[in-house]
Structures are given as C-alpha cells and as structure tokens.
Amino acid sequence: MNSQPPRLAVALLNRVVPEEEPLTGDLVEEFAAGRSRAWFWRQAIAAAALTAFRRSDEVRPLRLIDGVPARVPSAPATSRRTVNLTASPVAGVGGLSLAILATLVTIFVPQAWWIVLAAMAAGVVLGVVLIAIRRTRA
C-alpha cells in the first residue's frame, strides 16, 4: 500500500487552504495512521469546498471582475475583462474542483461516463453563453 497521501489532494489543499497548514497536517497524520485514500480525498474536497463557501461571503457574488474600477474614465476601452463564473476568490478553483469531481466520478462510477461527457459539454456551452451575455451587458 502506498504510504504517501494523494499528491493531487495535498496540492488542492495547499492551493485552496494554504493558511490551514495544520488541517493538511492532520489529514496526513490520519492517513499515516491507516485512513484510506478515499477518506483523504473526501476530507480534502470538503475542506476546499467549505473554505471556498466561507470566502464567498467575503467577496462579491457571481459577476465580472474588472482589473480597474468601472468609473475611472481613463480606463482603456480595450482592456480585457476576467470572468469568474464560480464566485470563488481564488482563480481556477472552480475549474479545478470540477475537474477533480469528473475524475472521481470516472474512477469510481465508470458506467456514468456519458453523464460526465454531457455535463462537460453543457458546461462549455453555458460558460460561453454567460460570458457572451455578461460582456455584452458590461
């Protein structure tokens, strides 16, 4: 049995909850004491989700994030806008979580591959539509 905790899960924790190093340490300690990889993943995903949820109270909800305040007249008209579709304060977390979720479903419920594929396609379409609508309104 591999005695190292799942590296991707540890990377997820380091990325999303870097300030909670003791939490990651606790999970590593429990894993070394005999907990399963599935347990580690469950705990890591839950910790990341809880942190993202807590942070969402501190930041703006789903909206465009501008590099400069909208009322500044000198803002360049051609500046590109960054779109945050997940309301997460950490760029890339939403996409990373979805990728991890899709990977887990593929591993543990392989017969549901068509659901994952359909969800990915629907997500891409929804994302493109939302970006187009929001850029038009902005």
């Binding site: 003791p22 990651t24 606790d26 590593v28 429990e30 070394a32 705990q43």
Partner: protein, 110 residues
C-alpha cells in the same frame, strides 16, 4: 440578548476540546466527537467551527512545531477560554430549561 448560545456542533467541539485537554488539536477533537457521539466529523468543518469560535474568543489556538509524521506541518493546539466555558454552561442551562416539563419526553414508569 447577546449571542451566547452555541450550535450543536460548536457545543460538541468545545466539549471535546475540554475533554481532550491542553493538547487538543484537530484530529484529537474530531476523534473524541466520533468516539463519544458516533457522529462522523469532517476535519474541514471542525476547523471552520474552531476558527469561528476563536473569532468569538471562545477558544484560543497556538501553533506547535512541525513534525515529520505530518509531512513537516505543525499542529494547531486549541484551548477553551473562560468565555467559552461560560458559553457552554449557558447553552446547557438553556437546553435543560427547554427539556423540562415536556410530556412527550417523560419516561414511562411501569
């Protein structure tokens, strides 16, 4: 009335921290809750509750030294403050008061 009553999970966290003692850290607190109550605890949820309790000055925390068994990461030790202890007592009193005189909860004597 100031908010002094605790949620059930906060109450469990504080009681488990008191039971474990001075060296209480996340894993031990979670294990104690699981051992006594049978309730599965997500460590992330325990830390979220502990952070909230610390913000409300019901617990304090100190960070220990990193250890190899934890991949070079430190432990965070928690201790219940006098204010936390008071909150536990007030919550207990409120729950006991609500519990009393309920015919639905009275034991049947044969």
């Amino acid at each position: 009335m100031p908010r002094s009553l605790l949620t059930d999970f906060e109450l469990m966290i504080l009681l488990a921290t008191l039971r474990v003692g001075d060296d209480a850290y996340g894993v031990q607190i979670a294990r104690e809750i699981e051992r006594i109550s049978g309730r599965k605890v997500l460590l992330g949820a325990a830390y979220a509750a502990l952070d909230r309790l610390e913000r409300n000055e019901l617990v304090t925390s100190t960070v220990g030294n990193p250890t190899a068994e934890r991949g070079g990461r430190a432990k965070r030790f928690f201790r219940v403050t006098p204010r936390g202890l008071r909150a536990v007592k007030e919550t207990r009193q409120a729950l006991v008061a609500l519990w009393q005189d309920l015919p639905q909860l009275k034991e049947k004597r044969t």
